[in-house]
Symmetry: C2
Subunit: 220 residues, 2 copies
């Protein structure tokens, strides 16, 4: 069995949000798919360890904000690499309430759902949601997971269904054994024109917004 085959499945990049009481919360996800067209239903998969999971369970509702290629990639890190239990992720990400749900303003579209069924697995809950509201917010091109990995150079957190523990090195002759600076929090690999050492002290990881100090030197 070659787990790399799973990498060929195509996904988008979404923020799954809901209410934690009066407070909005959410997490980054790549797994959302339409299940039926009439009435429209959509399934999402959320790790049991994600705080969002229990909040969806309690509120019975969720929203899917669809990120675009031109959405600020730091949104992915804000929602993907910290827990909504401790942090109000929406403090730093603009949102509006649509269909009574918090929706990321920078997304190109959103869908809000009411949970009508679910399927449990060892680590994730598949929530089936009946669509309550949906709209297009901009003409942006939806970001695919492949685009996130190739262009934004993002990584998957450990709770993602698509996480593979040992990511294979994709070496070319030119890149072999080159030294890169990697964010120790989210795995982002710095690839800018300015040498990493010369970046200003207030440089922050574009994905998870952690400071320059969390970057580590690695042979990639």
């Amino acid at each position: 069995m070659n787990n790399n085959a799973f990498r060929n499945l195509s996904y988008g990049v979404y923020i799954i949000s809901t209410w934690d009481g009066e407070r909005p919360t959410g997490c980054t996800a790549n797994s959302a798919m339409q299940i039926t067209s009439s009435p429209a239903t959509i399934a999402i998969s959320i790790n049991h360890d994600n705080y969002t999971n229990q909040c969806i369970e309690k509120s019975g509702r969720f929203a899917i904000s669809i990120l675009a290629e031109d959405s600020d990639p730091s949104i992915i890190g804000t929602f993907g690499f910290q827990t909504g239990k401790d942090v109000n992720k929406f403090d730093s990400v603009a949102y509006e309430v649509r269909g009574e749900m918090p929706v990321v303003k920078e997304g190109c579209a959103y869908v809000t759902c009411e949970v009508i069924n679910k399927m449990e697995t060892d680590t994730h809950t598949v929530f089936l949601g009946k669509v309550v509201d949906a709209d297009v917010l901009s003409a942006g091109v939806p970001m695919t997971y492949a685009y996130y990995h190739k262009v934004v150079k993002g990584k998957s957190p450990k709770n993602a269904p698509t996480y593979i523990a040992e990511e294979p090195k994709e070496e070319t002759k030119e890149e072999a054994k080159s030294i890169k600076y990697v964010c120790s929090v989210c795995g982002y690999v710095y690839d800018g024109d300015i040498p990493f050492e010369e970046l200003p002290d207030d440089y922050k990881c574009p994905i998870c917004k952690k400071p320059k100090a969390v970057f580590v030197k690695k042979e990639v």
Copy 2:
């Protein structure tokens, strides 16, 4: 509610296959997503009216062949616009048996699964499969559903979860009111350099392989 928002969800293009007794059968699908990473499970959504649904139900197994951008688009039509009840779809599409399942040779990767759970909706079954075998078959770029629509100019059959009855016209000034030839079986819009009338009599739709005669003149 604006149903067009759903079009911003990203998908791949897959052939979901299984055994109909001794015979391989399958259908085209865009909805497949990894649910857990350890043990690896993948969910697919199949319309009740698809013959493949009852065959998966009986055999308890399915395979996902992931199509690539350079896969022959006629495979999509062969599996998407006719029923496996009447036709042996694999008669015209090369396959090999991997992980005891029929897998499309032209795919860039495959995953075979054993059904371990399912969730019913009014029109579709969401099958949860535990991965039995998986491999990468070629270095091809996985075809996204967006690529299929924009580049291959394919349409969705009525059984697809993502089917929207009235597809909005995407008109630009240049294209407005132009006459096009459209395949009445699968919806493929002919867009070649040779005027449609001058195509040879044995021209076949590149998606569903139906003859030139099924094309109809339309204002698009």
